[in-house]
């Protein structure tokens, strides 16, 4: 058995430029994916891709954040940092999935929601809040897969799911380790130290009950043998989807509610 990787090492694997991205997963797992665009208010955010596809005989809605592999691709998708239009499009597609009784699969790889001027003017906070609120009461199966980085409310806005899955080297956190160390210690260069403290790796989060399953990756990371990663993600999705397909809509909403209701429950104490 190889030594388990450090959190900092996993962060660099999660951010590897050749790591399989949303388009790669679509090609491998959802070859007939049909993209749907726009928030029906004012814009189309290329940082979030969403649409419908057939997955093992079942129609599903697939939504995910996009990252490019080159600078040029990344400029097109704003380095995977969504604007409010993206979250509103995602919500529109999720509510459409609810209407047509399609399960929802989200693929998350984002360093966070975009902290720009226009994003604020268009209500970044409101858009994320609305997604959390509406996702909590969907009556179709929702499965979120964190494939790379899952940072901040920008990731959570697509992750209020019945099952939250993470690739073995993906990370999921309140914000990037750089942001964390600069807020807490006013020193972004201490990010490696932050990685160790943040409990952001898949095995740690599984142990804490924040996520449901860890999807294995090929040794050294998914970019070294993407085919293996695709098959593992497919297998895990199929397993969880078949379990959720057996549940009634009301039970799906109730279970999802309870899952997040129980996060960080505390006991009353008399000594403060």
């Amino acid at each position: 058995m190889a030594e388990p990787l450090t959190a900092a090492r996993r962060v660099s694997i999660a951010r590897h430029p050749q790591r399989p991205n949303m388009e790669d997963y679509l090609q491998a797992l959802f070859p007939d994916f049909f993209a749907l665009r726009g928030d029906r208010v004012c814009g189309e955010d290329p940082a979030i891709l969403g649409g419908i596809a057939r997955f093992h005989g079942q129609s599903v809605t697939v939504i995910g954040t996009r990252k490019g592999k080159t600078l040029e691709e990344n400029l097109k998708v704003n380095f995977g940092m969504p604007n409010p239009e993206g979250y509103r499009k995602a919500l529109r597609l999720m509510q459409q999935a609810e209407k047509f009784r399609r399960p929802i699969i989200t693929l998350i790889d984002t360093s966070g929601a975009y902290p720009g001027m226009q994003a604020e003017e268009h209500g970044q906070g409101e858009a994320i809040a609305r997604n959390l609120y509406e996702m909590s009461r969907l009556t179709v199966p929702v499965i979120a897969v964190i494939t790379g980085e899952g940072n901040s409310g920008g990731a959570l806005a697509l992750a209020v799911a019945n099952r939250v899955l993470m690739l073995e080297n993906a990370v999921y956190a309140i914000l990037s380790p750089e942001g964390f160390s600069s807020i807490l210690w006013k020193d972004a260069s201490r990010h490696e130290e932050a990685c160790g403290l943040m409990k952001m790796t898949a095995p740690e989060l599984k142990a804490m009950g924040v996520i449901d399953d860890v999807i294995p990756e090929p040794a050294g990371g998914a970019h070294l043998a993407p085919e293996i990663a695709f098959r593992e993600v497919e297998r895990s999705l199929l397993l969880h989807l078949s379990q959720l397909n057996r549940q009634k809509g009301s039970a799906l909403a109730a279970d999802r509610y309870e899952k997040f209701r129980s996060m960080g429950q505390l006991s009353r104490r008399e000594d403060v």
Partner: protein, 285 residues
Amino acid sequence: MNNIFQKRRARLLAMKALRGTYLPPEQIITCPGCGQESPRREVADNLSVCPKCGYHWPVGAYYRLGFLLDAGSFRELDPKLPAENPLSFPGYPEKLQTARRRTGLSEAVVTAVGAIQGQRCVTAVLDSRFLMGSMSAAVGEKLTLAVEYAGRNRLPLIIFSASGGARMQEGILSLMQMAKTSAALARFSEKGLLYLSVLTDPTTGGVTASFASLGDIILAEPGALIGFAGPRVIEQTIGQQLPEGFQRAEFMMEHGFVDAIVPRARLREVLGQLLMLHGKGGRHG
């Protein structure tokens, strides 16, 4: 009998409220808004609002409840639900102790049941003196319990936000409180009950991206900073200075995210009116 309890409760809140001021201790204080000097007493008597320019100093949770609720109606919910150290984060318990000692609060939010102009309601107030009003699991849990209490008792809910965002030392569990509180509010709303969100200075980060933005009606205090990303982060990202007034309450109202800006002196009256307009105690059916 009842009267004695009411008086005692009113006195208790008044005592706690005394510690809820953010005003500097000097006899003459300079307003950060207009730069003019005023006697401290005059500002304090004016609900911590500058008598010259209307600048609103932040106020503590008990202080706010003190001027908001009918005398003697205050009853605190879940006062003993302190933060834990879920990530075993080094130095965090000491930080909590210091914050508790300094503020007299057990956490960054106080939740209470009380009445405004005779109308019963559940009120939660965040206090930015306690680790910047950041969202810990305890803050999320207290808020959720308050939402659930309001739902069970069919009472309207008012939340005053004041927060820098996430509690870093609680990592992902802080993030999860956004989903927890938002989901609780969705359930609350399905019962046809009223939620009034009041944004005060500052309301940012995960609080803006969850319960603060989900009110049926959203009010703000004048000049309050309201946004998802903090101004410094945005300036670093775009490489330029933000224009004057960016992310302030007035700006947020112009952009469609705030229903009305209400000066502190009028808050009690406006909230009373909104509760009244939604029927006795917010009851719909």
